[in-house]
Symmetry: C2
Subunit: 521 residues, 2 copies
């Protein structure tokens, strides 16, 4: 036997990048026979710390049996993990038993039903933003803070913590306006109309948007059809200073970074928790420097919010947390019974938006009308505008061509891409879904239409998606084309046809069955 | 544009086994450029169905950028997923958008705070046992059913569902006895003493045990030092018929398979929920065909249960669910202030057990005494034994050598391995941890001693672990060796020394500070 009193650790593994995208989870790959730090000793602990001179990350262990993937003297890191560690391949790397993130003790307090305070939310959110949590730990946090598990003051703590752990922009103006929709309505591309309208009125509206998460297109995906949307901080500031507005992707600015990490679990789980939605939306807006926010809550049987009392409850929560965050909030409850506009998918939606801006007779009237309503309310954030005058100011800006002019200026500033709405570059396979009887369109399922557009390839394939020919209340005859879908790849086309056969998303019936709008606005 | 009305799907990918152990989660690897089913189209859905002629599994998608791992025309499956699909490499394989497991709707009811019924628990547990749930979905279920989220009838529903989705043994006898400890006490290897004692009394005790999950040794790990523990069903039945007992590993029999899947998340999360513990223990026992169970609940400051009221609450829940499952249960509350016996780790514990059976004067007295107490209570399950007589019957069986004789018969029947407790094959590095002052041992931390033994290599290295020289109440002088630890690998030895320096697990103080036992039995 060897007495070990005075030995020191010295052995190491060579760093290797493993080209596997594990979607926001740091994964470390060790060979099962790895001679120095045998994987078995670590296996039950599941998470290990990987460190090199001055850099360290925590990662979940996968055990590998193939030296072609990771050799016995190597340590493999997934794409995210490799980039977090930030060291070149071949670097001498060490591992040790990871301490659990400090905030796990606090997480277990929440799991066991206790209320957490502001400091505790800061600890958890800070660890999440640093990717210290595994997917399992993240899920535990999200379920333990789901819906009724948090009171409204806790939602504020969470929101504030999410702002604190990232960058926070300051535009040095009194009024920085933004709008947001809680989502769920395909084709609802009002931001690309509202931003040029309110900027033409002179308001500061530096709009950063997300890409689609579960929808067939986000504002960033659609805007990308017309212009570059990934701009560095300097370029963005310059554009906003000159044009009072932008329409860019928010992912580059490190605003509320914990939100992106949490979404990586919410998305595959299809978890749509009120508490996390409020914290997510408000933390992004406050971090982006907004002072005034218009929030669109659509109601409908296949919308996220299904009844007026539910919408009112949500409104109160948004108002409470906004007020704690010193953000001026107006909530508008809208008709969410069906998709907005005709096209669903980046190119199809860009087409509709450009037609509205050009006052083209083919422009979808519902998209135009909704955008004017919302823009009007935002214009009323201007202290010099009388309550009720916003809509007509917005309409004048649109009809006079000033909105189009502003949009063109923004597009040119961000970097114009070739796009002609009379000849949009749609995907190569097209399939028509027909009415199987005559009658009146009595319902259109937002979720199913979105699902069909996604399976067809949107938003990854910009020219894929769904183009609606009929809307609620329209009369159809058997054999009429209800909508077309576009797909670029043969397999996508087949999958989409199968999905449409399962459920087209349309119901044809009697006009008396037509669901009335919950809200007239 | 191509009109697609009459095309059928026909393209496929070649199956490849990817030698990565993802620990009970099916993972499918697709190349980012995969021409037929581009990974991007699937990415947001996260879970896809992989199918071939007559076989199908669901798996979580990881996107790969390296053709050495998975080529553009291949589909890679992790070790578990490949074995679930059960087809050879090169098989033509198809993928499609996975339907979410049907029970996810039910899971969301629970997440939103509703009570589930028996049918609903069956749906969820059946999907879990088939590996249809991703780690994220599993975590969501475990957190949503944690602690106070379930009432006692729901715990029964869960337990019953866990039994239903696996094999259930029937021994065709009135009394089939078993014992179980809720865990958390290192060295607590009483089963290997109780089983031969009660079998020598003539009771049927077909004991299947688990391997260590978070502890330095399970009964199966320790028994494996002395004999084979992985036996097929036929061999096990034969041994039990002949010797009235066995001491084998329970993992081969497909008893409560959902339990193993849930443990794969509970372990890395260190989630120790009462509800899941009850369902896990009782489902395994009922599936194994037990009719009578003795349950050991140790109490102590570093045990799982820290107070008598807490132990009583737990007892009532166990009693309720057992009664609904028609299992006769006796609960015994024991002293859990410190480890039981001296050795911690498979070989060290096997040494202690054999010394008790051989009535060796070096045998740890606390292990011997506790085993006799528990065996006595089990013997009283025998209707012919008077209440209170069990202990002396057990002691007679041990002292007369009949317990050793029975143990030798079991070892021979299962397949004896060479082991000499006078010369156990301990790991090659040994390190002594010394008292830094004189006084009385006032506390020994179960968790820290277990952690030290695990980091030293137990149970994967059978000869690794901790050997205690002093127990609670013993007097020590500065420089006395409190315990030795054994490690086989240099890195393990270094990690263990670091851990002991952080916290030795021992407190030396005044005899007045000694914590009294919560329970005298």
């Amino acid at each position: 036997m060897v007495n070990s009193e005075s030995t020191v650790v010295s052995e190491c593994l060579k760093l290797k990048r493993i080209s596997i995208d594990t979607n926001y989870e740091n994964v470390v790959y060790l060979h099962r026979e790895c001679s120095i730090y045998r994987a078995e000793g670590f296996q039950a602990l599941a998470k290990i710390e990987v460190f090199t001179n001055g850099h360290s990350i925590q990662a979940t262990l996968n055990v590998v049996e193939d030296q072609a993937i990771v050799a016995i003297d190597q340590i493999g890191l997934s794409i995210d993990a490799f980039s977090s560690l930030g060291m070149p391949e071949g670097t001498s790397t060490y591992v040790r038993h990871a301490e659990r993130p400090e905030s796990i003790g606090v997480l277990f307090k929440k799991i066991n039903g206790e209320r957490l305070n502001k400091v505790e939310y800061n600890q958890i959110v800070s660890d999440i933003s640093k990717l210290y949590y595994s997917k399992i730990e993240l899920t535990a946090f999200l379920i333990a803070t789901n819906q009724d598990e948090m009171d409204r003051e806790e939602i504020y703590f969470l929101t504030d913590a999410m702002v604190s752990c990232g960058q926070r922009l300051n535009w040095f103006e009194h009024t920085v306006v933004d709008k947001h929709c809680i989502g769920g309505i395909p084709g609802n591309r009002t931001s690309m109309l509202i931003v040029p309208i309110v900027a033409a009125h002179g308001m500061l509206c530096p709009k950063t948007s997300s890409r689609a998460i579960t929808s067939p297109a986000g504002t960033a995906d659609t805007m990308e059809v017309l212009a570059k949307v990934e701009l560095d901080d300097a370029a963005l500031s310059e554009i906003v200073r000159k044009h009072r507005a932008c329409l860019t992707w928010g992912g580059t600015a490190n605003l509320s970074p914990a939100d992106d990490v949490m979404i990586s679990v919410e998305r595959p789980l299809s978890l749509d928790s009120t508490t996390q939605m409020i914290a997510s939306i408000l933390s992004k807006k406050v971090a982006a420097g907004s002072t005034h926010l218009l929030l669109d809550i659509p109601i409908g049987p296949s919308a996220k919010v299904k009844s007026v009392p539910e919408a009112q409850r949500l409104r109160k929560l948004f108002e409470y947390v906004s007020s704690r965050m010193n953000l001026h909030l107006e909530v508008i409850i809208t008709d969410g019974r069906q998709p907005i506009g005709k096209g669903i998918g980046p190119i199809l939606e860009a087409r509709d938006v450009m037609r509205v801006l050009e006052n083209d007779p083919r422009a979808p009237d519902d998209l135009r009308h909704k955008a004017l309503r919302l823009a009007g309310r935002m214009i009323e954030f201007d202290p010099d505008v009388k309550g009720g005058d916003g809509f007509s100011i917005a309409r004048d800006i649109l009809e006079s061509g000033r909105a189009l002019e502003k949009m063109n200026a923004i597009i040119d500033a961000q970097g114009r891409k070739a796009f002609d709405h009379n000849n949009p570059g749609l995907a190569k396979y097209v399939h028509e879904v027909k009415a199987d009887k005559s009658g009146v369109i009595t319902s259109i399922d937002n979720l199913q239409i979105a699902r069909i557009a996604r399976i067809a390839g949107a938003p990854k394939v910009p020219g894929a998606g769904v183009d609606l020919a009929f809307k609620l209340g329209d009369k159809v005859k058997v054999g009429d084309t209800l909508y077309r879908f576009y797909a670029e790849h043969h397999s996508d086309m087949i999958f989409t046809m199968q999905e449409c056969q399962k459920a087209s998303g349309y119901t044809v019936g009697e006009s008396s069955e037509l669901l009335h709008a919950f809200v007239e606005y």
